[in-house]
């Protein structure tokens, strides 16, 4: 059998299929549909210090080969998360990542400080795409300095791996990734959603109450692959690649572009069993590419010279 595992720092992921933040709830919602122990890893919905109501509905709309969402980071906050969700995860093995969210650097620090003593947590994914209230709603991962500022605040607070989650809207995603590396991040995950708009012609209303939303799904895959490849060229950090992965083939394409592992988002929303199907497809396909392990495939893209 081929080796599908990969590592970020000291942390070993048994296989490359990690569930993406905000597209798999807190985890227990998926229990009726899949054996969570078969996953490569799981990343929670974004956790802010306080509970958040999120945006009014409608919050989702289907767009060509994808979807638009403006959930508005609804969440139960770090206290209820620790009391109500973390005990659930003690029954399952896969690496558990906390998607840390904030409106300002202090928010991120409060979440990491509050949760870090809990033994079930394996790593943090720092959602640098949240709107920052101090900078007029711009998200930190559009700017190398903001990215550095938040990650260097967090670095001394935990020994666990810190993964910086990047927005596709930075002027240069690879420069943001480099800034994250300099600030002590152990890995990067990309990409978060693209800002999008859908219009209802009849009412001339936006399809989402929030006006704008984030675009995800197969529509964004080529852009995501390009960014993964550029970041792979620029930094030595392991990459969790995502954006429109719906098949084992898609997964392996991200590995070829330089990802160590991947995240599955919209595909899980479409079908809660899709992540395990994608894993099966990838593990069946790998030997036919002449590879015994994912490592052999990683970053093996051969551009024309």
């Amino acid at each position: 059998m081929s080796d599908l595992s990969f590592s970020i720092g000291p942390l070993r992921f048994p296989n490359p299929v990690v569930l993406a933040s905000g597209t798999a709830g807190y985890g227990y919602e998926l229990e009726p549909y899949i054996d969570l122990d078969l996953l490569g890893g799981f990343i929670t919905k974004g956790i802010y210090p306080a509970p958040r109501a999120g945006n009014p509905s409608p919050r989702v709309y289907e767009t060509p080969s994808g979807m638009l969402n403006a959930i508005g980071l609804q969440g139960i906050g770090m206290v209820r998360f620790r009391d109500e969700v973390l005990p659930f995860w003690e029954r399952y093995k896969p690496p558990l990542g906390i998607n840390v969210a904030g409106e300002c650097p202090e928010d991120y620090a409060r979440v990491v400080e509050y949760l870090d003593s809990h033994p079930r947590i394996d790593f943090y994914e720092i959602n640098l795409s949240c709107p920052n209230v101090q900078t007029g709603g711009r998200s930190p991962s559009w700017f190398p300095e903001e990215t550095k500022r938040i990650l260097s605040t967090l670095r001394p607070l935990t020994k666990r791996p810190l993964i910086a989650k990047l927005s596709p809207h930075a002027r240069s995603v690879e420069e943001i990734a480099f800034a994250a590396q300099e600030a002590g991040a152990d890995g990067v995950s990309l990409i978060n959603t693209f800002i999008g708009l859908a219009v209802d012609l009849k009412s001339r209303r936006p399809m989402l109450h929030n006006l704008f939303g984030g675009v995800s799904g197969p529509a964004v895959k080529p852009m995501a692959l390009a960014m993964v490849y550029k970041v792979f060229q620029r930094v030595s950090l392991p990459i969790l690649g995502m954006g429109g992965i719906v098949s084992g083939r898609d997964l392996l394409e991200f590995i070829v572009a330089g990802a160590s592992g991947v995240q599955i988002g919209t595909a899980t929303i479409v079908d809660p069993q899709a992540p395990l199907r994608i894993l099966r497809e990838a593990s069946e396909l790998l030997p036919s590419l002449g590879c015994d392990s994912l490592g052999e495939l990683r970053g093996s893209l051969k551009p024309y010279r």
């Binding site: 080796d3 509905s57 919050r59 799904g217 929303i269 079908d271 395990l276 099966r280």
Partner: protein
Amino acid sequence: MTGNNFSSKMETMDKKGYTPLEIVGKREWREDFFSLFFHSPLLTSSLRSGHFLMVRDPDAPTLLSRPFSMGRLFHDEGVFELFFQVVGKGTESMARKRVGDTLSVLGPLGNPFPLEKPGRILLIAGGRGISPFLSALPVLAESKRDYSLLYGAKTARTLLFRPFLADFPVSYRTDDGSFGQRGLVVDGLSQEVDLVFACGPEKMLERVALFYKDLPTEVYLSLEERMGCGTGICYGCARKVRTDRGVEMVRVCEEGPVFEASRVVWDE
């Protein structure tokens, strides 16, 4: 040591998932209303009025599944009905399906109407909101309950299922008076009931909730919201509901779609 501890058997063991179901019957009503019939003894026996299903056409250009409540249940044949109105891409592609084609179906999802609660029951249906009551009526008749259905639509042409409904106590209303009494269902509400179950347009549900607000009648509404997953993971379907913690955004697919009317917060 290998991370590949994987077999496709473990993938679905004891777990619920999308199932491809063959269309065994199709009925074209009018005004863009359709019924599709599916053979599944398992679903037919486990579906309860108020449950919904997520439905996806694997051959369509659409990505996300769409939510539908089921219509009639034919227990002897193990067949259930989906009754729907064409309003967009997803329902259009469903309407083009033929007998022998398959659709992917996930369910039962959500929480059904608490039909077992004691007391006199009034069912209220507006337009395509008749769906969940097509399975509730035979259950209430069988258990010899004191019940009736108030069913309204714009016009007689869209007041569907009348032959089926002839076996049950139903009063009809149409906006234009072309069948039954003229007027809205909300003009025909009775105070003389203990339980109300309603499904239909948002405006109708809000007025039903308002009518019974200060009465001892317990009112349950089946609410709709645009959905992403239908399985509780995306938080796309949330709406304002009163909970122990105050007013919260609550998922229609997971905590609903049936809510106690007194808990629902209506936006101005």
